[in-house]
């Protein structure tokens, strides 16, 4: 009995892995390129040169921030599909001090921008919570709607108040002054502050979810809000708090995108990182211990796949296919949702 459960525990993820790769290989074969070549790039390409490694880390940092935030909302039983919008609002809010007071000393300005970004993201997420609480709109659709609105606002800022001197293109605002870019290592695009902040966030959230009463209450609300309420947990408040916490982290990710990656506001500042974060959180089962490895793997796939069109002439979206398939098959090998059906 014990042995067999041990075996299934080990084989299940393995099976999922195999199935995901089988599926992705099928997709690769249909294009006529050698899957091995493709996998070499997708899996290891990100580690092949220092430049790519640093690009991977710069993608992993905001991704980890989002995934960590989402692990909070997942614990609270919410599908925060609005994380993209929260990132965008965080980026917009972070731009405000950066544009208003470019003369303030950079470290102070970054702190200000980080605070603004977190506030922006938290505010945007809070709106989702309010929509759900008072208007009964599921957070999934509220989140999607807010995503559309956020990207609309970003486009408005890019085309309107913050547009470039001479043109009105959706490609973005003017670049920030150089001294406001986060310092990078040498000739790489790696700004060490970004991964440091993300790891810090991971540690704090892990601690909060597993050790604090707040975390326990959040998990209780996630499992059964009615019962949690009966047991004295302020369920509605916890729901808003989890959303706001996730929004704040997503907003921070948006701020990192601005000061460390794009150095400007672009309409697509969230670059699908939020949605990828949802996949990461789903695969890691919102378990903080798994978040880091999964994040690194997914960021590596994405960065590695950039070379696919260049060297193999196939589209880089295969990274997304692999990521999606991994999560899908991992879901399949999990215990049924309905095992704890009502009894009595």
């Amino acid at each position: 009995m014990k042995r067999s459960t041990l075996i299934t525990q080990a084989t299940r993820p393995l099976l999922a892995l195999l199935a995901a790769f089988a599926f992705t290989t099928l997709a690769l074969l249909s294009t006529g390129v050698s899957p091995l070549d493709a996998y070499r790039l997708v899996l290891f390409g990100a580690f092949s040169t220092p430049v790519r490694l640093s690009d991977m880390i710069m993608l992993a940092a905001p991704l980890l921030l989002c995934a960590v935030g989402l692990s909070i909302t997942f614990a609270g039983g919410l599908y925060n599909l609005g994380v993209e919008g929260q990132m965008i609002m965080g980026a917009i809010a972070a731009m405000v001090p950066l544009r208003l007071w470019p003369d303030v000393s950079p470290p102070l300005l970054w702190l200000l921008a980080a605070l603004c970004g977190m506030a922006g993201g938290a505010f945007w997420a809070g709106l989702i919570g309010l929509l759900r609480r008072y208007a009964g709109v599921s957070e999934i659709f509220a989140g999607l709607g807010m995503n559309f609105l956020a990207s609309g606002i970003a486009m408005y800022m890019v085309l309107g108040p913050w547009r470039r001197q001479t043109s009105a293109s959706l490609s973005g605002t003017d670049l920030l002054p150089r001294e406001l870019w986060w310092p990078t290592i040498d000739r790489l695009r790696l700004a060490p502050a970004a991964p440091v902040i993300a790891l810090l966030a991971l540690a704090v959230v892990w601690w909060a979810l597993t050790k604090t009463r707040w975390g326990l209450e959040v998990r209780a609300v996630g499992l059964n809000p009615a019962a949690a309420g009966r047991l004295g947990v302020a369920a509605a408040r916890r729901m808003l708090e989890t959303l706001a916490a996730c929004g704040a982290l997503a907003g921070l990710a948006g701020m990192v995108q601005v000061v460390a990656v794009h150095h400007a506001l672009i309409p697509n500042i969230s670059s699908g990182i939020g949605l990828l974060g949802l996949l990461v959180a789903l695969l890691a089962r919102a378990d903080p211990r798994w978040l880091l490895p999964v994040t690194i793997a997914f960021a590596a796939f994405t960065v590695g796949s950039i070379q696919l069109p260049l060297t193999l002439g196939i589209d880089s979206a295969i990274a997304g296919v692999l990521q999606g398939a991994l999560v899908l098959f991992a879901l399949a090998t999990r215990v049924r949702k309905d095992t704890q059906a009502a009894r009595g």
Binding site: T212, L231, G232, A234
Partner: protein
């Protein structure tokens, strides 16, 4: 149609729900099936109605072995089952529900179905409106509709699983009359119940199940002595010990005070309610389903806000403060659906106690586990501190829920505190509640079971059509009078008198 089962066995994991059962139910009779909780009654019925398939053994209809692969097979063979909670579609009208997935050729058209339904209702003495939505009917009415649906679909054998649990006395009378009529028409009825009196009143034979086996092997003709049946069902645990206890004088301030409260929930409205709920009392709320007991409980729990008036808890005005504030004031609400609204299925007792901790930012697991251990010992819960609540049996879940009531609770509101529990478990639960009462708590509970109300209440409040009667000392009340009041007989005079 005669039903025979031979060596019927059904396992759920390690639980042997039915263990090589061999019985025969003769045609044209009403057969009672008795047994404590978990004895395997429902399992047997579900096997007979094709709802589940046996692991071993066979079922014979009129001596012919038949394999039932699903409810459709059973209905084709003429067996229909009315589940305890009617398995109908609440969002449908009576007629839609009747037509839904009806066997081919039974109803040629909507109109034909309606005519047939009305005809049958008249024959059985039920009142029915084919256009009414099921979720606006009482459980009793829905049960009647299920019975008629099965008969119209050609059931020759009718299985009723605890049909009287959720319905009123009057509805029970109507049901019994109809069942006798159906049996008289030559059909077979299997009647599952915990309640000895009902079986005695209705049934021609009785079968007692215990731990998945028939004791003693075979059927017994009715009547049988009640003590004998109780002993068969429970062994020694079933012996009755109802002792009437005089009320002590109360000095503590009242737990709740309602002042001129008007409250509305759905279509039900309660007007100008003035009531005081004293500490150290058990107050039973009696009434037909949906007469206002639930509204009153939820009002006292702070879950609904009155439109007018004030709700005072321990002398403090908490009108509209929300259920959390009520809880902080020492009010505990125990819902009927334990797993759904009461506790968190995936959490263990330790987790629950940790959740109840109110100070400090960090969870103190050690003290929570200590409390869980103590609760398990005190309440005789069959579990470890880290067993998920969902894996506990119903009775143990109820005990766990009670154990989680903080020691300083001032008021306990319980909705059907012994729903689905057998006599022994129910008695244990009541022992706990009485201890709470003796410690100065006010316990308010609602139950559809009049015997329970009569046995355990210190005071009884009757609800009728959204009106709340005055509290009456239990000692001044007889079962007959209570039944009348619930039905509205003399209710006006009672209210006027105050």
């Amino acid at each position: 149609m005669r039903i025979t089962v031979e060596h019927l066995t059904k396992r759920f994991g390690s639980v042997l729900a039915n263990n090589r059962l061999t019985i025969s139910f003769a045609a044209g009779q009403i057969h009672g099936v008795l047994g404590e909780n978990g004895a395997g009654k429902s399992t047997l019925m579900k096997l007979l109605s094709g709802y589940m398939q046996p692991d071993e053994g066979q079922i014979l209809f009129d001596g012919v072995p038949s394999r039932l692969c699903g409810p459709a097979d059973a209905l084709k063979a003429g067996v229909g089952m009315v589940h305890q909670e009617p398995l109908d579609v609440p969002a449908f009208s009576v007629l839609e529900n009747l037509l839904c997935a009806a066997p081919r050729g039974v109803f040629s058209s909507r109109r034909a179905a309606q005519t047939a339904l009305l005809e049958l209702a008249e024959r059985l003495g039920f009142a029915v409106d084919p256009a009414a939505r099921l979720d606006q009917l009482t459980i009793g009415q829905r049960q009647q509709i299920e019975i008629m649906r099965l008969l119209l679909c050609g059931a020759q054998v009718l299985i009723l699983d605890e049909p009287t649990t959720g319905i009123t006395a009057a509805q029970t009378r109507a049901l019994f009359a109809a069942l006798r009529q159906i049996a008289a028409e030559g059909r077979t009825i299997l009647f599952v119940s915990h309640k000895l009196e009902e079986v005695a009143e209705l049934c021609d034979t009785v079968t007692v199940l215990r731990n998945g086996e028939v004791v003693p092997p075979g059927q017994l003709p009715m009547p049988q002595p009640q003590e004998y049946l109780l002993a068969l069902m429970f062994g020694d645990a079933g012996a009755s010990s109802a002792v009437y206890r005089p009320l002590p004088a109360i000095t503590a301030p009242p737990v709740w005070e309602l002042r001129q409260v008007t409250v509305r929930s759905g279509s039900l409205q309660i007007h100008d309610l003035n009531h005081t709920f004293a500490a150290g009392r058990i107050i039973g709320l009696a009434g037909l389903d949906g007469s206002g007991q639930q509204v009153l409980l939820r009002l006292l729990a702070g879950q609904i806000t009155p439109e007018r008036g004030q709700v005072l808890v321990n002398g403090r005005d908490l009108t509209g403060a929300g259920s959390l504030a009520f809880r902080q004031a020492g009010i505990e609400y125990l819902p009927a659906d334990r797993l759904h609204d009461g506790m968190i299925g995936a959490f263990s007792l330790t987790d629950h106690f940790a959740l109840l901790q109110r100070n400090g930012m960090i969870v103190d697991r050690r003290s929570a586990e200590e409390l869980a251990r103590q609760a398990i010992a005190d309440y005789q819960i069959k579990a470890t501190p880290i067993t998920p609540i969902a894996a506990l049996s119903g009775g143990n879940q109820q005990r766990a829920m009670l154990a989680l009531v903080p020691p300083n609770a001032r008021g306990i509101l319980a909705e059907q505190p012994t729903r689905g529990l057998d006599v022994a478990s129910a008695r244990a639960i009541w022992g706990r509640l009485q201890a709470r009462r003796d410690a100065g708590c006010c316990v308010v509970f609602a139950s559809p079971d009049l015997d329970e109300i009569m046995e355990y209440s210190d005071e009884v409040i009757v609800c009728f059509a959204g009106r709340i009667g005055p509290p009456m000392p239990r000692a001044l009340l007889s079962s007959g009078r209570l039944a009348e009041l619930i039905g509205g007989v003399g209710f006006e005079a009672l209210v006027e008198a105050v």
